[in-house]
Symmetry: C2
Subunit: 144 residues, 2 copies
């Protein structure tokens, strides 16, 4: 399926920002987050930009600029993040429309669409059951 790391990195960034603020620091910079996630600041800015579009974080520009959360981690779920960074559906239909003269070709798309819809709904429910607070708790629970 060619899985990507967008949800992982986004969760990482949110957990990092929150922990940083809980420790009394100011706003978090993409540079710092990128250093923790071992990637490039631009990658972080792109991802956080999408989270900002979803209202999960906000950014300040100018000197002393950076990122901060708009609400508590406990009120943010993985579904919020998923919807912000993963636009498309999980499974795709045929690239070219199948043969409409064939019974299977005619009925396959509505059939699969209905099935996929149910599956994605379940996935969303599952993602909605995990808050970013849960994520941070699990992160801090890692044995040293």
């Amino acid at each position: 399926m060619s899985a990507n790391s967008r949800l992982t990195i986004a969760a990482h960034a949110l957990a990092w920002i929150s922990l940083y603020q809980r420790r009394g620091h100011g706003v978090a910079t993409s540079e710092q987050i990128a250093s923790s996630a071992n990637t490039n600041p631009v990658v972080i800015r792109r991802l956080l930009g999408e989270l900002r579009g979803a209202g999960l974080v906000e950014s300040r520009r100018g000197a002393g600029a950076g990122w901060s959360l708009t609400r508590e981690l406990g009120s943010m779920t993985l579904l919020d993040v998923y919807e912000a960074v993963e636009p498309g559906p999980l499974f795709a239909m045929h690239r070219a429309t199948p043969d409409q003269e064939c019974v299977v070709g005619y009925g396959i798309q509505p059939a699969m669409q209905g099935i996929y819809e149910g599956i994605e709904q379940t996935l969303r429910r599952e993602l909605a059951g995990v808050t970013l607070e849960d994520v941070l708790r699990d992160v801090l629970a890692a044995p040293r």
Copy 2:
């Protein structure tokens, strides 16, 4: 996520083979299936090859060759097909290992892995709840 159509095409092929056989014809050729799915026969052969590896179909070579099912559609689930054609996990970890000196960088991977595991388990259960017989029934239920 860059969704692909492999599961869709594989289900299409299985439904087509089964319906073809129910109508009293012999084995199905990749050429015929490709025509219904509006794609290239090689694409079908590649996909069915993976299904053969999973024991869902078998192929005969030589003249009068083609594909047939090894068991009833009712005993085949979308999970069987999914596992045959989609190897990797749904969500990926960081490309480069995160900063192990950072608390978040240290704990994020085990945390996300645990969460993803549960989610994938739910997805599998959902896929296992749909048989290819269900798919064919839905296909034939499409209004003309």
